[in-house]
């Protein structure tokens, strides 16, 4: 799958705020990012539907390799360099799903016809990251190292059936399209670790970049209410505005 790099504008930033003139570091850091998330996530479906009185096995492979990211967070410095943060990220994937199926012949048992094609499949991954943060401030450059649990919710396009074209004598068939449905997972728990680097050009404002790796296993409801385990998360890279108060 080929995701789109959607650079929504680097808003944001995280963290360390410090002005050389200041003697104390800011308490609150706000970041807003745009970027991409890369992963090795794939969604693989394998199921049967009934056609022409026989099972028609359908296989679907969706590579969720790259998605567009919008991310925002806040960090509250608690004691010294230690803080707590919360970050909400939304990653959207839009990919071609490869669909293959074996469609039974209308006139004969055990004479399936192979078809293959692609259909668009979208995925929206919403993740809330709770972070323990370690701040490494300096005069212009703040670095935050963070990690903690993540909660994921996934909305995923899944294939439910295939539509194909055929004509007499029906010994071959051609993929036309796939019927799809959107499945939303229950909240899945995972983890995240990362680093945020901010360059301040004033006391309260700067720009920065973030890299976060997150991971979780989510369960989708697939065709026939079959549970479909999918990986969530990946390596996120983004950049944007940093505010510090």
């Amino acid at each position: 799958m080929r995701g789109r790099f959607a650079m929504t504008g680097y808003l944001a930033l995280a963290a360390p705020a410090l002005a050389s003139a200041q003697t104390t570091a800011p308490r609150v850091y706000v970041s807003v990012n745009g970027g991409i998330q890369r992963s090795d996530n794939t969604v693989s479906q394998s199921f049967n539907v009934q056609k022409n009185f026989e099972d028609a096995p359908i296989s679907v492979d969706i590579d969720e390799k790259r998605g567009a990211l919008v991310d925002g967070g806040v960090v509250l410095r608690l004691i010294g360099p230690i803080g707590m943060g919360f970050d909400l990220s939304v990653v959207t994937h839009d990919a071609d799903a490869g669909v293959t199926a074996s469609v039974p012949h209308p006139f004969f048992f055990r004479q399936p016809r192979s078809i293959e094609g692609t259909t668009r499949a979208t995925r929206r991954e919403v993740a809330g990251h709770i972070e323990a943060v370690y701040l490494v401030p300096s005069q212009r450059l703040d670095v935050m190292i963070f990690g903690g649990p993540s909660l994921f919710s996934i909305r995923q396009t899944l294939v439910t059936d295939v539509v194909y074209a055929e004509s007499f004598p029906f010994d071959t068939a051609t993929f036309s399209s796939a019927q799809t449905a959107t499945s939303t997972s229950k909240t899945a728990t995972g983890y995240n670790v990362g680093v945020d680097v901010a360059w301040k050009f004033s006391q309260h404002l700067g720009v920065g970049g973030v890299a976060r790796y997150s991971r979780a296993k989510a369960t989708l409801n697939a065709t026939n209410n079959a549970a479909l385990k999918v990986d969530a998360g990946g390596l996120l890279a983004g950049g944007g505005i940093r505010l510090a108060f």
Binding site: N52, F53, H105, P106, F107, F108, F109, F168, P169, F170
Partner: protein
């Protein structure tokens, strides 16, 4: 166990009646010129003759067909006419390759000299038939004016088919006097033979049937294939069947075999409907033929023409036609016999008869009669009749091998005919015709008048040649060996016989003409000196046809 003293095929032998006392002078003896032109000199002479006869309106082009197997080839089929009246059996089939004539086969009747104006009206003719057969012909049955060549000369006659409860007949009525001058068994059928949703067939196998849904009921009307394929359930009403066959009534949607769900419970309807479709598919896939007439004519099947349990009170003739038989009537209509109840057998051989729609080769046999009816129109008696039956057996077997694995068990392909429903053994055997007392060599042919001149018996001469051309082996009578093309090349021989019998064969062909046209077909398709040409040549020689 009940034993029916039914002598099959004796119970269905043809009666050929020549009327010589009509009070009209007969023509001089019939002179028929058999045309089998394949050499340059022959072709040059006959090409110009055919063109001249066409200009003189002696030959009329019935149809032109592009060759589905050889691009650039064209087949013209002419019929002979005399003063605008078709000469029965007079026709010419000319094959050309980009304008260059390749072969001409046919029969031309010469010396015809008669008044071609009939005295009888069509109503008069129908009245004659009704008096003879006891059945009233409806508006759908229009007699055809033809000149009939027979042993005594040429006659102006009306040709019409009629079905009685006993038999299907083809009548030739003298158009001047009203005398019936020739009466043939009119149904081209499986002699003495004894015949989606989803459902199980007669032999317990799962099948899909292409059906239609109408008002919540599923009916046996195939909408997926190019032609309309419909299967009607007569529910044992033989009078309705006869009325339909004679054009007095039409079958309507409520007569279609039906089911309240997509799972069908009548194995006979399942087998008839599914397998008719399979045969259509075979012809399309193997020979690029679009149905019986190559123009997707509707195919109508009728099942349950009688009630099985009425067999004890039925005459041998009814049993011969509607129980232990299947037949192609005409214009794409077939009827499949009911078989016999368990415990009933026929003699000799003490054979049991299941529903005839259960046998794929039987269905293919009958549909092939339709193919013949729309192509060569091989006349249904004597040698052309035997060739007609042989071609149906050959294609019946070819269809079996197309869909079933080779073997001798049920639902396996072999060279026995009807073996899945007529047990043990079937009704004919192309590998060993002698097993049923049928000839494997021309010298052993039946020369009597029964069975329309031995059309079923003598068919094995040609069908055995087909067997030898594929499998190879030695003819038991001649001792001559044939190097067959092998089972892996079966398709080649199917195409050779299909081409020969449907595109090159004239209506009044003899075995010798069949030899020539199939050899020509092998050359056309695979070249002179090819393995198929050698095999088919050796095979005809081995069965004594030179």
């Amino acid at each position: 166990m009940h034993v029916l003293r039914l002598l099959v095929p004796a119970a269905i032998v043809a009666s050929i009646v020549f009327g010589g006392s009509a009070g009209h002078p007969l023509q001089a003896q019939v002179r028929a010129t058999k045309v089998a032109a394949t050499t340059f000199a022959e072709l040059r002479a006959w090409d110009s003759t055919v063109d001249r006869m066409k200009r003189d309106d002696v030959l009329r082009l019935r149809r032109t067909i592009d060759d589905a197997m050889l691009p650039g080839r064209l087949h013209e089929r002419f019929e002979q006419f005399y003063q605008g009246v078709r000469v029965f059996g007079g026709d010419v089939a000319r094959q050309s390759d980009r304008g260059l004539t390749v072969s001409i086969f046919g029969t031309i009747y010469e010396g015809i000299d008669l008044d071609a104006q009939p005295r009888l009206s069509l109503d008069d003719v129908k009245a004659v038939i009704e008096r003879r057969s006891g059945v009233a012909l409806g508006p759908g049955r229009v007699p055809e004016l033809v000149i009939l060549p027979d042993e005594t000369g040429y006659r102006l006659t009306y040709r019409v088919k009629a079905f009685t409860i006993l038999e299907g007949y083809e009548y030739f009525v003298d158009a001047k006097s009203g005398a019936i001058v020739l009466e043939l068994i009119g149904a081209e059928r499986q002699a003495a033979t004894s015949t989606l949703g989803r459902g199980q067939g007669v032999l317990g196998d799962d099948k899909k049937v292409s059906i239609s849904s109408q008002s919540g009921t599923f009916v046996a009307s195939d909408m997926l294939r190019p032609p309309s394929l419909r299967t009607y359930d007569a529910r044992g009403d033989v009078n309705k069947v006869l009325s339909f066959l004679n054009g007095r009534t039409v079958l309507v949607t409520s007569d279609l075999a039906s089911s309240t769900s997509t799972t069908w419970s009548d194995p006979v309807a399942v087998d008839a409907h599914a397998q008719v479709g399979w045969v259509y598919d075979y012809y399309f896939k193997r020979h690029a033929r679009r149905g019986l007439d190559n123009n997707n004519i509707s195919i109508v099947s009728v099942v349950h023409p009688v009630r099985r349990n009425d067999v004890s009170t039925s005459s041998n003739e009814v049993i011969g036609l509607f129980y232990v038989n299947a037949f192609y009537c005409c214009e794409g209509v077939m009827v499949f016999g009911e078989g016999l109840p368990p415990g009933f057998v026929t003699l000799p051989g003490r054979q049991s008869w299941n529903f005839l729609a259960g046998a794929l080769d039987v269905i293919a046999h009958e549909l092939t009669h339709g193919v013949t009816d729309f192509s060569s129109r091989l006349i249904g008696r004597n040698e052309p009749g035997a060739l007609n039956e042989a071609f149906s057996d050959i294609m019946g077997t070819a269809v079996e091998f197309f869909y079933q694995p080779a073997g001798t068990n049920v639902l396996q392909a072999d060279y026995a005919v009807g073996e899945d429903v007529v047990t043990p053994g079937g009704i004919r055997n192309m590998a060993n015709p002698g097993a049923f007392g049928d000839p494997d060599h021309y010298s052993r042919r039946f020369t009597g008048t029964a069975d329309n001149g031995g059309v079923h018996t003598n068919s094995t001469i040609a069908s055995h040649a087909y067997y030898l051309a594929i499998e190879g082996g030695t003819n038991r009578t001649s001792g001559l060996s044939v190097q067959g093309i092998g089972t892996a090349n079966r398709e080649q021989m199917e195409k050779v016989f299909y081409r020969g019998f449907t595109q090159l064969m004239p209506a009044n062909a003899t075995f010798a003409v069949a030899r020539t046209v199939t050899i020509q077909a092998a050359r056309d398709l695979y070249g002179a000196g090819s393995a198929p040409e050698r095999a088919v040549t050796q095979a005809w020689t081995a069965v004594g046809v030179n």
